[in-house]
Amino acid sequence: MRTGGDTGEDRTVDNSAVDIRGVTKRFGDVVAVDNIDLSIADGEFFAMLGPSGCGKTTTLRMIAGLEFPTEGSLRIFGTEVGTLPPNKRPVNTVFQNYALFPHMNVLDNVGFGLRMQGTGKADARRQAAELIELVQLTGMEQRKPSQLSGGQQQRVALARALVNRPKVLLLDEPLGALDLKLRQEMQTELKSLQRELGVSFVFVTHDQEEALTMSDRIAVMHDGELLQVGSAEELYERPVNRFVADFIGQTNLLDATVLDEDMIVLANGTRVMAPNPHPAGTKVAMSLRPEAIRLGPRGSVPAEHEATSLPGVVAAMTYLGHALVYRVNIDWLELEVRTETVGAQDRLQPGDEVTLWWDRTADWVVPDE
């Protein structure tokens, strides 16, 4: 049995690529980013995940220098950058809609950063051509952005940022405008590119699956607050609160009240065993992943799972080929249960009375906030 802790973000590493301490950003009355602490290690693929409007872009823009924090400290490789303008920071950005220069061809777009840093024209072109090759756009050098597909524009934006050899690359929903197939291809490519270059990527997305597949660590944001930072596994298995549990992957959240350190009372009065660190009386939610729940005919629960079981009635069953998905009614809630496919005669049918049970280590109690 495991339980929620803090955001998991209390380490201050001297060599962290980006170190954010107590940063708040207000726009008038709107608190876009609310007192966040965050450390991003050198060479890390770091994702910032959260629903639209939670402050991801604002955080990224503060790292880039396009927005200055209202409060707090922001360091890049140990140097306080607070109000340093963007052109003085060793970071580059792949913007949400790419923001390619429409009046320049691909070569000049990619060479722009070098030119601004004083690199000679010929040298800038040579280096730009190398990056264009890296992102597999050779032959497109003379095209204008308007003559490229979305995926190609995305690659130009990537090359334009990477040609400057940034110490940190910021990406704001870079795959958001691409269709699913291209998106998945680019996910793999970005990930291997990041490994190859060894540069920190800070990757903003609202797509949890994308964050889970690509990242070393993920920060989950909500309403300007940083809720939790951790690996995909940590977030999935040990979410700190109801929001994270719900946002990462799919789960069933059962409202409950803490009885003591071992037991909770579910909304319908059923007591179940769920060791937890919360004081008696705390409103909590128990998170049960669909694949962690077993079910069988009423009364078939193994003795050792008696304390972690519930009666229910099958409401619906969906056949997914490799899996079966049951919707099971438990008084006040419908749970989703996912099991391996079994032969047609062994499947439970709508209306069947069943018992649900789970391992003692499978549930996770989070404060109900």
């Binding site: 880039a64 220098g65 396009l66 303008p85 963007p86 052109n87 970071v91 580059n92 950005t93 913007f95 809609n97 923001a99 390619l100 220069f101 429409p102 009046h103 320049m104 722009f112 950063g113 601004m116 840093q117 204008k144 334009r160 940022a161 400057n164």
Partner: protein, 272 residues
């Protein structure tokens, strides 16, 4: 018929076509007549007296016309350059920055477009009369040019503003993220993108300056007669085909300017 569902048909269609032709006739018949009679070998305007180029010869030979043309060109060139710079700066300030009194500045900037020419002319005349008491300058090139700048700025900034509004401000941010200073971001990204607007504004200013009569007449001084003012004066003495010839020259010049600007804008819009 391959027309779309929204395309008019039948009687409506024919009426609309007739209307279009009528409008074109209304616009272009006078121009055609003007051009034809500028080649007419007859002192009477409107009486065809055979083909001649004499009137153009007279134009080229006449000192007052040549002086007026030269005056017009100098005034137009200077007032356009100044109005374009100031108008573009005003447009940038209004589109990209917030500052105290912005709304008032915004409204005041467009006043010259709304105010009737005559009112503007009287205002200018009064202003220069008072100003010359203080500074003691004489009316002429400077007063005409200043007046032209005053009314052109508004038109330039309207045109440029429309273009700025259509360009993505994030591009400038992207430039700065790529190590451009504020000035470099403007110079390499914003300026090229709003250039069609600036060219369009410049052309407008040039045209307005070249054919202004009312305001120029009020603020002009000894020795400074622009081409349109000269034509206006000549007409009062009686219309001759010389006027036709002068008008045709002005027509060709301004059409040429419009054409050039369109070409310039076409070149630019390929790139944006």
């Amino acid at each position: 018929m391959t027309g779309s569902i929204t395309e008019p048909r039948g009687v409506t269609r024919r009426l609309l076509q007739a209307n279009a032709w009528f409008v074109y006739l209304f616009f272009y018949a006078p121009i055609v007549l003007l051009v034809i009679f500028s080649f007419s070998d007859s002192r009477n305007v409107g009486v065809w007296g055979g083909f001649t180029l004499d009137w153009y010869g007279d134009f080229a030979a006449s000192e007052p016309t040549k002086d007026a043309l030269w005056a017009s060109l100098q005034i137009a060139a200077v007032s356009t350059v100044v109005a374009v710079v100031l108008g573009t700066m005003a447009a940038l300030a209004l589109e990209r920055f917030t500052f105290r009194g912005k709304k008032v500045f915004d409204a005041l900037l467009y006043l010259p477009i709304i105010i009737p020419d005559v009112t503007m002319a009287v205002m200018m005349l009064l202003f220069f009369a008072e100003a010359s008491k203080l500074f003691g300058f004489t009316k002429g090139f400077s007063t005409i040019t200043l007046s032209h700048i005053a009314f052109s700025i508004s038109f330039v900034s309207v045109v440029v503003r429309a273009r700025i509004a259509g360009t993505d401000q994030r591009l400038e941010e992207a430039a700065m993220d790529l190590y451009a200073s504020r000035w470099q971001a403007f110079r390499h990204v914003t300026l090229p993108l709003i250039m069609p607007g600036i060219l369009g504004g410049a052309l407008l200013a040039l045209t307005l300056s070249l054919d202004d009569v009312v305001i120029t007449q009020f603020v002009t001084g000894p020795g400074w007669t622009t081409l349109p003012v000269l034509v206006f004066g000549l007409i009062r003495k009686g219309v001759t085909p010389l006027i036709n010839a002068v008008s045709v020259v002005m027509l060709v010049a301004s059409t040429g300017l419009v054409g050039l600007s369109l070409i310039a804008q076409r070149l630019r819009s390929d790139t944006s």
